[in-house]
Symmetry: C2
Subunit: 472 residues, 2 copies
Amino acid sequence: METNTSQSFTGKNKITMKNIGIPKGTRDFAPEEALKRHYIFSTLRSVFEQHGFLPLETPAMENLSVLLGKYGEEGDKLLFRILNSGDFLAGVPEEAKQESQSLLPYLAEKGLRYDLTVPLARFVAMHAHELVFPFRRYQIQPVWRADRPQKGRYREFYQCDIDVIGTKSLLEEVNILQIINDVFERLGIAVTIKINHRKILAGIAEYFKIEDRFYSFTVIIDKLDKIGMENVIAELQKNEFPTELIDFYKHFSTEKPTIENLARYFENNYTIRQAVSELKFILDHAKELNLMYQPVFDYTLARGLNYYTGAIFEVVAQNVQMGSICGGGRYDDLTGIFGLPGYSGVGISFGADRIYDVMETLQLFPSNLVKGGDIIILQFEDSDLLSLFRIAQMLRKNNFKVMIYPEAHKIKKQLSYADKLHFTYAIMQGSDELKNNQLAIKNLITGKQITIPVNELHFLTTNDLNAYFETS
Amino acid sequence: METNTSQSFTGKNKITMKNIGIPKGTRDFAPEEALKRHYIFSTLRSVFEQHGFLPLETPAMENLSVLLGKYGEEGDKLLFRILNSGDFLAGVPEEAKQESQSLLPYLAEKGLRYDLTVPLARFVAMHAHELVFPFRRYQIQPVWRADRPQKGRYREFYQCDIDVIGTKSLLEEVNILQIINDVFERLGIAVTIKINHRKILAGIAEYFKIEDRFYSFTVIIDKLDKIGMENVIAELQKNEFPTELIDFYKHFSTEKPTIENLARYFENNYTIRQAVSELKFILDHAKELNLMYQPVFDYTLARGLNYYTGAIFEVVAQNVQMGSICGGGRYDDLTGIFGLPGYSGVGISFGADRIYDVMETLQLFPSNLVKGGDIIILQFEDSDLLSLFRIAQMLRKNNFKVMIYPEAHKIKKQLSYADKLHFTYAIMQGSDELKNNQLAIKNLITGKQITIPVNELHFLTTNDLNAYFETS
């Protein structure tokens, strides 16, 4: 409708089926997958809205000035850049044309969104004067990364984020735990919620005087679940971290410490005391709220991103190895980089693609989710189309999903179509039924068939329909 | 959660609020707009699913080999191209580096989706052997065009398409009219649905022997509503179309012909007779179905895209000038270009952005759509947070949208927040109420306040809550 172009589909540039495809790392979602994905998105959306979060949507493209430098050097390389339109070489100095790296800045000034966090920070910084704080937003949109595609890693995937910006209240951390709990309870995924505090890690670094190597320290610690304590200790040694630090990890190598253990071990460290007190508030409230999934303290949880400053969360599924399916934490200065300092916030991101894989592996999707509709109306050579349309109209008014098979094919063919698309009922009205103002309904699962007056459709509900088949 | 990058938000590349922004022609959708847009999308989705359409999603990026040549030369220029990753200049011959046009093919092999029709054709051609035909899919996704931005025209906008592929049955045309009717009836937009048939235009061209200039002919005719019959005739003359053709348009210059008029005028033309018979079937059924919005035959409706071969539709709002808000038609060979000939289909596209503008202009959005939630729980210095959390939990179980204000700010400040976010009720529980296991609920619209036992929340519905305030 927005198109007003000419000469379309004229056969120029004709290519055959053999050489069509989609870019690597991207996916088509056929109806079955799309319905299941929508089920995840709408569950998330519903829980988010129940907690007073409101939707935000940002453009797929951002200016590169907004994106560059926010994800590290590696991240800059993974940005998809949009080639400038028109004569993009105009005015480019000859020497810049000799090398990709030198030409790059001239070719593109826009890139595809890499995550939803930087666009959020950019949005809040741009609109701080109009927004009402604390600003609670959710955002469910795709992001793009020019990563090497591999199992479970795509170049286009969805992030589902919630963030509260403009309050330091720990109530929001408790709230986040409630949301994580509610989402996975509704989806039927048994999860383990890990929790830690960046100040635990910062305090350890302070205590052992390795603040200047904090980042590489957290990278090693973060690997614990993957490579085991022995290898973590080996890496710490290889990287010449102090013996005292290594002794500390050896001390807890067989059993992870509780927060009380840590509080005792580092009793004079203010940073750790602070973290412990915050974590206790959060954990105590979660306990009293009887959440089905209680957070478990894990002193090795680090989370990659350096902007976290408070509590951090990570969620894994209990019954399948799929890595983290949700994670986040508190940050003290997300919007500072865009010139708006002093806004503390807390947020988490649900990974829809991995959640999908978990649900598919554990067969957690509702069985009636994937279907072409509730009722298919079959067509005979002598069908009165108008009557079929009216039947469909009545049923749709009562919220049934209904289609009329568009041609008077052999009934076997129509039923096979209904079967492949998982319709529950088929309606048939031949000339006899039409004369008597009746129709036949066949339950496609049980094979049972009944005949009812057309008039009864006016107030027919799903329950009525089920009842017909139970009592007949 | 998918991020594992380093050195983020470190303050390098710090830019100030002054130079942040978004690419021209793109938009942020703040919560109020996002909620309203979601209302449109979910209405469309719901009507589509009621008619047995299933969702399809395709990647934002397509290979340029799929996109190029499908939208005419002009369209090719409007494609956003994705710069190849890595060393994109490697192996590019020196002479190609001298001009944008010659360098272009080396720089990009992917582009952003320009519409949803070509990706559909590509998907169907790729998966024809697995799909069940007739294939009924809907697709609601953004598309991108490097068009000059102007009022109502964006570089990123949503298309909402439905198509049925693999049947020639006219039943689907009637169905499409029912869907258009249902969508706009639900949204509350009074519309005019125009209908024509490409074979009316083809027949006219045949009759006056201008088949070789068919495209430029339709382009002029299509302008009628914009420039008036006088100017159309002038343009036809300027372009030296035959006098007989011009006489024909003069003949109907004061009143548009009915299909019966045309049938009589061209009574020996087989093509027009065929079109008239199909249109009669469609219009008669629409009439008998008592659709609120009846299609109106308009012999000048042409629709831009050349791939239409049968009935064509276009919808405009009655009470505001906004151009076409929905349009489509039947095509005989959409997938042929991808090596899969012989699949007839019919489809329409709803323009969500224009529908939004119409609804905003005519104030058709439900008044209770935009709100932070139903209930806000206020916080006092002496509040028992656990009790507030439990109250929120109970209310959410009963489907209320609830947030707890995260800090014990002055009540005036909290109420102002509630007001700005359009909450309907505020709950307060000071130490007195807590002692008596009670809470106070204030209706923020009327200002009325009542006190109820906490236990009553367990089974509280919206109706109960409203009733409390009516009877108290």
